[in-house]
Amino acid sequence: MRLPRRQHSVLPGFGLTLGFAVVYLSLVALIPMCALFLRARGLGWMGFWSTVTEPRVLAACRLSFGAAFIGATLNAVFGFIVAWTLVRYRFFGRRFIDALIDLPFALPTAVSGIALTTIYAPNGWIGRALEPLGIKAVFTPRGVVIALTFIGLPFVVRTLQPALEDLEADVEEAAASLGASRPQTFRRVIFPAIVPALLTGFALAFARALGEYGSVVFISGNLPGKTEIAPLLIVTQLEQYDYAGATAIAVLLLVISFAMLLLINLLQRWSGRRHLRGM
């Protein structure tokens, strides 16, 4: 008999561990974050509004959102194919590729940034192939999308893999036995079952991409109003001692992060998975 609300009062250390965890979390994370909001309150609503509606800020936000969205979408499509292949097919090197998926988590963003820039530059391995087609990747918004796709890939794949593994074989066999063709089975049985995981992965990749800094700054070229992302703008304004401007954009990003976190929590509850691996 296991009761849902059993209190394990006989185990020692509750007060000590919870107390330490809460104090530590408050000192390291919560109080500094409050500093940001208090500083933003000093700006006043009008000050905040006039800062975030400056053309340069608007352009940066537009680029950040747009590129993050495109990157997350690309990842949803290709990440799905990658996850499907890894879960369903057996081929040489599968385990190696599976381990490699986490590379964007493990590789420091500065390294990813300079490596991607080198490859997609006009004289780089891939940039050379794109140039005759008239596609310029580095120092354009496309470069931003490339970096954000790189950074978001593991989120989609790692969220989809367990969902695909959990699909029970007999459900597909039942669909087949009822006369469904393979595309029908996919569309009506498999896809609806993994939609929550796909959306969660998309949201995680999008949220990460919005705040990403290291891998983007090298490849984007950082032209104000053209290839300048919102996190970079914060750094620029900080370097110019424009604390008010930096704070306003940071608050905007932070609020969106909170909203995304909430959304992701809801999505995960929907898909029945709370904890996802990720860095």
Binding site: M1, L3, P4, R5, R6, Q7, S9, V10
Partner: protein, 360 residues
Amino acid sequence: MSITVENIRKSYGAFQALRGVSLDIPDSQITALLGPSGSGKTTLLRIIAGLEKPDEGSGPIRFHHEDVADRRVQERRVGFVFQHYALFKHMTVFENVAFGLRVRPKHERPANDVIDRKVHDLLKLVQLDGMAHRFPSQLSGGQRQRVALARALAVEPRVLLLDEPFGALDARVRKQLRAWIRRLHDEIAITTIFVTHDQDEALEVADRVVVMNEGRVEQAGAPEEVFHDPATEFVMNFLGHVNVFDGRIEDGKVTFASVQIEHPVALESAAGPARVFIRPHELSLHLLPRSDSLPATVTGIHAAGPAVRLTLAAEGDHTFSADISQDVYRALKVAVGAKFWVLPKDLRVFPGGAPDSDRL
């Protein structure tokens, strides 16, 4: 070591797991706490062990005459065997059994050779002497169970508490282990309490059975006592298959399904509704009518077993079952559709109407 608990209460939020339980556990016997899930039996066991604190206002928990209610679990010296054994996966069988000796404060800790001898003695006792260096994952379920038992005995506990000791085992191993535990107990004679939801297990292994329901003790007594003389409807229902009839008490007689019978309970009770309980083996079949038997038609026969179980339908849509011997079954040439007079050889009457939710 006898155990006495008085007025133990425990609630989890709005759920009352124990509603004032008082109990005497006799020394050196095996006592079974028997009940359905949610009856509070495991909670009671954990409270006796000190793994759970009773609510404020609960009475004392006495080991012999000492009140241990304020003692921590480490100080109560109980041997507790968990349902899923809780063996330490990273330790060998030997280290598991030795654990309780090794964690003693330095001045009380036995020397290594003493520990060594003691662990091997215990492993011999539970017939696992050759397995000392295996890991729990290399053992079968029954072997793990016995390691857990040896580990609990290593600290020389004053009482042995077993939570669903046979619950995670398959049917054949359960049977073997029951008999083995009984024999082991005869050897070491330690006050033992075990929790189970299986009535056969309780009746076969225990010297005393405590039937629990919804956080209360329904009846406590020897196995024969609770089986043959159930104190409440719940005990009647819970121990073995039983036919239930709604009847009435009037003029010292009980009436149900067209039968009227004199019964001592009816003599003592005022007129009103009553519930009549008859076990299938307490019914006999007759060809000739009798005033104290009820006419019924055979609707089903299950003859593959030591006895034959018949399903019968009486007037007024009463369906019930009766167990008869294979000899009687052949002698009476019982067939579906045949009509008989069914005589209750024994029955129990509980005054009062049907409860809201029928527990059958």
